[in-house]
Amino acid sequence: MNPTIHSFTMAAAVLLASAAMLQAEPALLGNKGLTGQALDADSIKAVLLGKKATIGDTRVVIVIIKGSESQEAFLEGHIGMSTDQFNTYWRRLYMTGGGSAPKNVDTEDEASKVVASTPGAIAVIDSAKADGLTVLASK
């Protein structure tokens, strides 16, 4: 390959990779008390569906955001539910003694604050807003 073209290609690849890193994507973020815990796809599903009530020994508190596109995409991808279906699923659990109710908030900023201040709290938030929170899983 022509060295000029090669250099150009490499530069473009680096730029694209940097852009991808900077680009926000939905991530499952947790309270800093959950640091060191990484969840695989099966664990994400088990936690989000209340099959697994704790991460480590800490009770999970799910924070649901009203009308968040990141959350919608993440839930659809991992458990095949919309946010509305997810709310209904959880209502069936906590109204019948089968689980602890999630906390509902209006915005991602609010969710970040609740997750930061609540032991065991998790939420699907834009990864760009991960400051001070633990990344449990992305995409």
Binding site: A53, K66, G80, D84, N87, T96, G99, N104
Partner: protein, 386 residues
């Protein structure tokens, strides 16, 4: 069916977990065309005796959770707005695959038995009555005892949810269950009860996203009732084992939910003075349903539900019965807000096999040969929840 706003308070201080408070209240109306009184008391004239309400509180800390719900209802003559403990238990989940729950526990049976009263989680005002008979709520809803449960991860094969329990159910002669198990002849029960109930359920969350299938079984040990047959005499009628089995499937895809369940109840009754196997009871039932979320606020649903209850009395063949009832329903549900919704449902009923013929009250004087066998039922309901 969005989220409802909850109340949360911290009676133990800010360093300890908060107490979550939730509740609901619904008021309905049932109208049956013709002269059958089915479900809500004198419903052939239209009846508002159709409501449920409950409030629950729970607190969770690490692997422990404690909670309780108080509940009241009126469905025709049943419930009478008396507030009762609906569920109240202590739960310890040791791992994903093993947990224990003890106290008054919701009975796992089929897809929706644990959520009988949760209008905000479904389109229908009435669940398919062949499987979830609203008059049997006292009998179906919960038991006092213990249950083990868990979820077993099977990687590419999905996962298994299991539950197994043992306990007992307290029943009143004034309950719908008492009338249900006394429907062969209209003599009143003065006592009804059982030694124990036990059973479980196994659901496979298949690798197909949104599809689960399952099997539930429930047994009642020494289930019996004392029946008054004349002003001066009573006799016991009972069965050493009442067996109830249900198979279930539910498939959720995009805005659609499809469900189907089928079941069988069976028992051989003895009657005091007439010996064992005096009456053989066999009931087959099931439904298929489909619902679709049309807009964020509005959903539509339909089901066909069918029940066939057979009772054979070998020494007295003329007393053999075969009671059938089909129910084709169309329902609409509109969510005004996340905490307020309204439902309207129209049923075409074919057959009258699930009607009661009780000694007194709205459902008295409904012997089989006087019933309408083709009629319409309209159900409306408004529900508040938080």
């Amino acid at each position: 069916m969005g989220s409802a706003q909850a109340f949360e308070f911290q009676p133990f201080g800010t360093n300890l977990p908060p107490v979550d408070l939730h509740g609901f209240a619904s008021q309905g109306y049932i109208y049956n065309s013709g002269h059958n009184n089915y479900l809500g008391g004198y419903s052939s004239d239209g009846s508002p005796d159709f409501r449920e309400y409950g409030i629950n509180a729970s607190v969770a800390y690490n692997k422990w959770r404690v909670g309780a719900q108080f509940f009241g209802q009126k469905l025709g003559p049943y419930g009478d707005d008396q507030i009762k403990l609906d569920w109240g238990n202590v739960d310890y989940q040791a791992t994903q695959w093993f947990g224990v729950r003890a106290g008054r526990v919701k009975t796992p049976r089929g897809l929706y038995n644990e959520t009988l009263d949760l209008d905000s989680t479904r389109t229908f005002a009435l669940l398919p009555q062949s499987v979830y008979d609203a008059r049997l709520r006292d009998f179906n809803s919960s038991f006092d005892g213990g249950m083990i449960y868990g979820n077993i991860e099977m990687k590419k094969l999905g996962s298994l949810d299991y539950r197994a329990y043992v306990g007992s159910i307290s029943l009143s002669p004034l309950s719908g269950a008492s009338d249900y198990f006394n429907n062969d002849i209209p003599y009143p029960n003065t006592k009804i009860g059982m030694d124990a109930t036990y059973g479980g359920s196994l659901f496979w969350n298949t690798p197909v996203q949104g599809l689960k299938v399952g099997y539930s079984v429930q047994m009642f040990n020494n289930f019996n009732a004392l029946r008054t047959v004349s002003p001066t005499s009573s006799l016991w009628r009972g069965t050493s084992l009442y067996l109830r089995q249900t198979i279930s499937a539910e498939y959720t895809r995009d805005k659609w939910v499809f469900a189907a369940e089928a079941g069988r109840d069976s028992a051989n009754y003895w009657v005091q003075g007439f010996g064992n196997d005096f009456q053989n009871y066999d009931s087959y039932y099931g439904y298929v349903s489909a619902t679709r979320q049309i807009t964020d606020k509005f959903s539509l649903g339909t089901y066909f539900s069918y029940s066939d209850q057979m009772e054979k009395c070998p020494p007295y063949a003329p007393f053999n019965t075969d009671d059938r009832q089909g129910d084709l329903a169309l329902a609409g549900c509109y969510n005004f807000t996340s905490y307020l919704l309204a439902k309207l449902e129209i049923h075409y009923m074919n057959g009258s096999g699930m009607l009661f013929n009780t000694p007194t009250g709205a459902t008295a004087n409904q012997p089989r040969n006087t019933r309408d066998n083709s009629w319409a039922m309209i159900v409306a309901k408004v529900t508040l929840s938080f």
